[in-house]
Symmetry: C2
Subunit: 196 residues, 2 copies
């Protein structure tokens, strides 16, 4: 919102410490429940019961905090995806992960923030590419394993699946349900056909 722009070489706290995580926990809660407009150093401090000054002991700038928050979140999400991809019914587990774990609101807030914070944008790109790679590999492996083939390539299928999962989550949250049951049935049919 404002303009100091010069960032001094003030003393900084260690990343990964308990308080550091508490601040990101608070920030994540605020971003999900109250939105980007409320994601301020004052609000974070208030939420975890410290003074505002301390936020700037652990994070150089607010933008920096936001980037770290996304980094932590995306690393956890990638871990879930990797785990899912190694399971018995990998595609179903991946689908459930995509449709279920991260809040749609959180995603839309980060998307908008990425338009403004360049480093966040690069983290988002990296996350999309990494998660996509996991999904493409899982689809290709599952098809080979079951000996089925599709006129649609694994990479196109992965993109369709990711897009659809995102839209389902977002619309579900908004309260729009047109076509959801039909589409869920289509996905279910596809997953079942690969589990026989």
């Amino acid at each position: 919102m404002n303009n100091p722009k010069t960032v001094s070489d003030r003393r900084m706290g260690p990343s990964g410490s308990e308080t550091w995580h508490a601040m990101l926990d608070g920030a994540e809660y605020i971003l999900r429940e109250e939105g980007h407009a409320q994601l301020t150093s004052r609000r974070i401090a208030e939420r975890i019961g410290v003074k505002q000054r301390l936020v700037y002991y652990y994070f150089k700038t607010m933008d920096d905090l936001i980037v770290e928050l996304f980094r932590r979140l995306s690393m956890r999400e990638l871990e879930r995806l990797r785990e899912a991809s190694h399971s018995e019914r990998s595609l179903r587990e991946i689908w459930n992960t995509n449709v279920g774990t991260t809040d749609a609101r959180l995603i839309s807030e980060f998307m908008a923030l990425a338009n403004r914070i360049d480093e966040l944008k690069h983290e988002v790109i990296r996350f999309i590419e990494d998660s996509r790679a996991i999904e493409v590999d899982a689809i290709a492996a599952a098809m080979t394993r079951k000996g089925v083939s599709s006129p649609i390539s694994p990479s196109a299928l992965a993109l369709i699946a990711a897009s659809v999962a995102l839209s389902l989550s977002r619309e579900e949250q908004l309260g729009v349900r047109s076509g959801h049951d039909e589409l869920t049935a289509v996905v279910e049919g596809f997953l079942s056909s690969l589990e026989r």
Copy 2:
């Protein structure tokens, strides 16, 4: 950002006037090019060369301005969709509209704002439902016309198409291209099959 909360019954200017549109034009530019954090009454006034006070002559609050901006944009978009749905190759025209007209950045900014502004959220819901209805009808009509049938219902297909178009636009803007060519080819094949 602030707290006045009480909105007086001050004198207001007419909606739809030239200056009113100029303000929304400015707001749209700022939202697309600079993001929601820069979308302020002062910035809008500066952009179109008037004083800040005037913004509050035409709009009761900033939230109100944002809602009006989305309303104007979505009405134009629905108009394009209706026009496309009446054309010869309706599905292709609708696809091009979805993938091309409105900037992906603008969409993500509105999505985030809708988390906070309740009236905007309802406008977004209405827009999704209205555009979806047009697309479902167009798909059903095209299939009947060509005498083809699909194991996927028109409403599920419409949801898939809308999701995929949105993701393609967003990723394209971010610079992610994984699976895009393959998916575009799939869509092209589907559209061609309905044009024979």
